[in-house]
Symmetry: C2
């Protein structure tokens, strides 16, 4: 633990007790961890998830709460369904989407549907049925493209370098427009290299860290592209769940967008060495960039989360060593459900 | 005429002679004026237009060139068709889209399809069939939202305040991504209150100036919302066509985005007085903002076009008085085709 954490916010989380919460993409990495915390906090959780094979949905992610939540397997682009589901909800976590940058280049229309049409459908449903519901969107650092300065701050122009970054940017700004035009309480948190239990590890397309964890656990070789000296900040899932819960209740964040981020950035080489130290297995090798990955690579990047900190008191608490150790322990136990 | 105009560029326009050009949205206001110029320059023009009733397409717009062009009535979201059409073209003007801010709020999904999926389909078709074709996108000042400073410059964050502004922003950034990832020669010009012959005048949803011209010609009362003191810059269509033609050939603009804009901005009151002076008919009255328009109004706005000027030598040439006079003369003659 580093620092006092979101001290002022712990009491606010009591606000979730007895509340009806809708969570799109709730079988995915971030959504399922959030759902588990919401159930612990006494909320009545409804999950909508399409289990789209290109997304990260996995039924095992909610194994521990499966009898305590309502699960609806459906596409969030289904407006009549979403109109029914948003009624009576105090908060909607608008998380469903695709996260792969490479896949977005291969299937730009599928990515547009998942990351722009889907979130817009949720907004439109709330506009028509429930304008009071807090709506929390999962934006992404990827929409910035290459950082002008580090740490990356919210005043930088969004200059996305892949289709996913463009479509997520549009999804975020629809939330800003619905605030401006209809007074709806929306907020976007821009996610930054989130990692932890329930992340996809069977391929590298949902973040390379999941893939590295899988390779290290299995004693395989990890390939680092470029020179391994790229700096990255990482957000542990529990910190991200804290941030989402705060964004779901704190009045100071409405109508605005905020970077998340981690503690001090590390080089990819340092990250991998740490991971190999934890698992006691695996190795790494530095290799040249494949061309299709180089085209959308953004180099070193880590973010300032000061805007969100000053608005809410949130700060990341879990050190990378601790987070990686918890993640490795999870997959050593449950690997079979993720491969 | 003001200033020397795009002197250095006139010769470049000879490059269009004998070239095969694809023009989406070519029955609309800007597209049809561009098509007429391209035919004059000796280009072989193919127009794709869906004649979507919410767009500005009008067969009469190309009356004078209808036997000299190829017209395909189709939806640009038809990828197999677009793949066929982009083959062999040296330049694609990716202009098809919706322009109404108010309609985008009523039909956000239709606007998304027209302004994001459509242009993305054209890009994808070129990626698959013809990566050499110059692709010129019609962006919009609306994607900026409210100006931080005036004149509005390209370094401002895009903070759109309506769905149309978001979807056009996404359409533009797909062009930037396809440049970055695939080396395709794309460029976006951000349009600013373009006016002139062939503009929609039968309602105010495609720009208020068309509607004002119609009211003035018919001797009716023009209503100005707010106080009439809002400043606006206006781009005459011939200047915009020059800019598009330059963007279609000049190597200095590739992979970048540029504001267009007009000569000195005027208040809406001054604009309307000028218009009434030209027609010798009509009147005006200042009225309060209707709530749905106030929600997406952006106040005074005019743009710097210095970035495009320094890249290419372009500058607006047609004074507002001259442009309005030409526009009024056009509609006095052809009004019946536009009402």
């Amino acid at each position: 633990m580093v620092g006092p954490g979101p001290f002022a916010e712990i009491t606010r989380m009591d606000e979730y007790r007895g509340q009806k919460i809708l969570l799109t993409g709730g079988l995915g990495f971030i959504g399922s961890n959030l759902a588990i915390r919401l159930v612990e906090l006494g909320a009545a959780v409804t999950i909508v998830d399409s289990l789209d094979p290109t997304c990260g949905g996995n039924r095992f992610n909610i194994e521990t709460i499966k009898n305590e939540i309502e699960l609806i397997e459906a596409d969030v682009c289904d407006l009549p369904l979403m109109r029914k589901l948003v009624r009576g909800k105090s908060c909607v976590f608008n998380l469903a989407g695709r996260v792969s940058h490479i896949e977005s280049m291969d299937d730009p229309f599928g990515d547009l549907r998942a990351n722009t049409t889907g979130p817009l459908t949720v907004l439109e449903a709330c506009k028509l049925e429930n304008r009071e519901a807090r709506i929390v969107y999962a934006g992404t650092r990827q929409s910035y493209g290459k950082p002008d300065v580090l740490p990356l701050v919210e005043t930088q122009l969004l200059k996305p370098v892949d289709v996913n970054g463009v479509n997520k940017m549009a999804g975020e700004w629809h939330h800003m427009v619905y605030r401006q035009a209809y007074g709806m309480p929306t907020v976007s948190l821009r996610m930054v290299n989130t990692y932890g239990p329930r992340q996809v590890i069977k391929h590298a397309r949902h973040g390379f860290l999941g893939w590295f964890v899988k390779l290290a656990i299995e004693g395989e070789e990890i390939q680092l592209f470029g020179d391994g000296a790229q700096l990255r900040g990482f957000s542990y899932i529990d910190d991200v769940v804290d941030a989402l819960l705060i964004a779901g209740t704190n009045p100071a964040v409405i109508g605005d967008y905020f970077n998340l981020g981690g503690l001090r950035p590390v080089t990819l080489t340092a990250l991998v060495q740490m991971l190999i130290g934890i698992t006691g297995k695996g190795s790494y090798r530095i290799v040249p960039f494949p061309p299709e990955k180089r085209a959308i690579d953004i180099g070193s990047v880590y973010t300032s989360w000061m805007k969100f900190h000053f608005a809410t008191g949130w700060q990341p608490r879990v050190a990378l060593e601790d987070g990686l150790a918890r993640m490795v322990a999870y997959y050593q136990k449950y690997k079979a459900h993720y491969l």
